[in-house]
């Protein structure tokens, strides 16, 4: 048997307990194959348990374990780093719990915080850095760890209560869909819920819209006075949160 064929057979055994493939590896190989398969699955289980602690708290250990087993069967790991394996788990949860959207939303917070924790370093601007900015030509640049996901429930409040060891609130749908933001400020990963207006403003600004155009978009959505006030408030919030790393001034 070639080395390539041997490695394909071991993969088949690890993923799906393919007895035919195992047989080709030798009659004496069975005890060892069981050790390797146990190691393979135990490592993936531990990875997901560590990455989704709050999601596990919410749905309970047994339900979480069943979801993990289903995920391992559905999504074999492909990256060189185990850090990548949790990324697809929220989608598995969304499929298993279509009527409980807070579960996948909690899982997204878990995984996004983990990714922000080891994301690229970037020095955030402070209020003092804004003194000489020509706002008529300004475009905001956001920290590379900023991530945004749609939000339809009070999952952030549930996550915070679970993290604090408190009784979580009951699930409530939001009156209007918003978003959860995750980013890293210094060395600490952060998150907060935002409404539809901040979500839209962030998506536009992150896509490269200039600050004056962003103000115009907010005016279009909220009216002259409220739109300008909200754009200014968002800018202040983003700076205080450490989300802005540069302001480009275009001609």
């Amino acid at each position: 048997m070639s080395l390539y064929a041997l490695q394909r057979d071991m993969r088949a055994w690890l993923i799906a307990e393919d007895d035919v493939a195992a047989g080709r590896l030798g009659a004496d190989a069975a005890p060892g194959l069981r050790v390797y398969q146990n190691n393979y699955r135990a490592q993936l289980v531990a990875c997901l348990e560590e990455s989704f602690a709050r999601t596990r708290d919410w749905i309970g250990g047994e339900a979480f374990h069943q979801a993990v087993i289903a995920h391992i069967d559905r999504v074999p790991p492909s990256s060189w780093t185990l850090d990548a394996y949790p990324r697809d788990f929220p989608a598995t949860l969304a499929t298993r719990y279509p009527d409980d959207p807070e579960i996948a939303e909690l899982a997204w917070i878990d995984v996004a915080l983990g990714e922000a924790f080891v994301g690229p370093d970037a020095l955030a601007l402070t209020v003092e850095d804004l003194g000489d900015v020509d706002w008529d030509r300004a475009t905001l640049r956001f920290t590379p760890t900023l991530d945004i996901a749609e939000l339809t429930t009070n999952a952030p409040a549930i996550w915070s209560a679970l993290a604090a060891g408190q009784e979580p609130p009951a699930v409530e749908p939001l009156p209007e869909a918003g978003a959860t933001l995750v980013w890293r400020q210094g060395l600490a990963a952060q998150f907060r819920a935002v409404d539809q207006y901040e979500r839209r403003a962030l998506l536009l600004a992150r896509a490269g819209m200039s600050f004056p155009d962003l103000c115009a978009a907010m005016v279009g959505a909220l009216g002259e006075e409220a739109g300008i006030a909200r754009a200014g408030a968002l800018l202040g919030q983003w700076v205080r949160d450490g989300m802005i790393v540069a302001i480009e001034e275009k001609a």
Partner: protein, 277 residues
């Protein structure tokens, strides 16, 4: 260029002990870190590694190179490791004689190789590529294994000897792995230790193991047992300057317990080297 020589005694750096390593001077000559834990873009892990590197020599020990993959090495992985090597300037860069990845599937385990001429050629080609990208010689660690593929063209220690001769790499000799594999596959660990290329050994791992249902398992969750200390005492006088490390990956005890084990390694090492002189 052959791997550097370094004589000393170290520990694997684990999360539970970060604060002690950074807040006071721990009595180790070097620390070993798992490369992949720090092959991230930024954040606290990279900051911790920079701080540790200011205080201690560091060895990078990898678990994901998959040096035995039949479809070759992952270029993205190698580039990230090279960047870490450039930043850390480590004593050693090591990984295992094993494979983890095939055709886009990554087991994240150290899977065994058959000791055939085909596997030797493939492993040597992969080591050559890795050493070219890294710009330095690597250390390759002997694995613990639970399957003994037959028929083989050579023993594991013959494989290691030929691999070192063909690629110029060094050896990270894990004495516990020798004991585990010898027990599982029925070979003589003394014959193994006498058969490896002694002039290529640059680092030694000492660890503990557990008895599984059918096989001895390389669990790294217990103190170094007497059986492993005996093998260490046997092989040490045959080696040149070498770095010895206690490797604990599970049920991590307080740092003082690991330092006490390291003191045993220093004592055994001192006795054996004095006896050999």
């Amino acid at each position: 260029m052959p791997p550097v020589s370094f004589a000393g005694f170290g520990l694997g750096l684990r999360k539970q002990h970060y604060a002690e390593f950074l807040e006071c001077r721990v009595a180790v000559d070097f620390v070993e870190v798992i490369s992949e834990n720090f092959m991230v873009d930024g954040g606290r892990p990279r900051q911790i590694l920079r701080d540790v590197r200011e205080r201690y020599p560091v060895a990078l020990h990898g678990v994901s190179m998959s040096i035995g993959s039949a479809d070759g090495l992952d270029g993205v992985y190698l580039a990230r490791l090279r960047a870490l090597v450039d930043e850390v300037e480590p004593l050693f860069v090591s990984d295992h004689l094993s494979w983890s990845r095939i055709e886009g599937f990554n087991s994240h385990d150290l899977l065994p190789l058959p000791y055939t001429n085909e596997a030797l050629d493939l492993v040597c080609a992969n080591i050559d590529r890795a050493q070219d990208v890294l710009g330095r010689a690597m250390l390759i660690e002997n694995p613990s294994s639970y399957i003994d593929f037959a028929p083989a063209d050579m023993t594991e220690w013959q494989f290691l000897d030929r691999m070192c001769a063909k690629t110029g790499c060094g050896l990270l000799l894990d004495v516990n792995n020798v004991f585990v594999s010898a027990t599982n596959h029925g070979f003589d660990p003394i014959e193994y230790l006498d058969g490896v290329p002694h002039d290529r050994v640059r680092q030694i791992h000492l660890a503990g193991h557990s008895q599984g249902r059918e096989l001895l398992i390389d669990t790294h969750d217990k103190p170094v047992p007497a059986s492993v200390w005996d093998l260490y005492a046997h092989v040490l006088p045959r080696l040149g300057p070498v770095a010895t490390m206690i490797e604990r990956d599970d049920d991590i005890p307080p740092l003082d317990e690991l330092l006490a084990e390291l003191a045993t390694a220093r004592r055994v090492g001192g006795q054996m080297l004095a006896h050999a002189a």
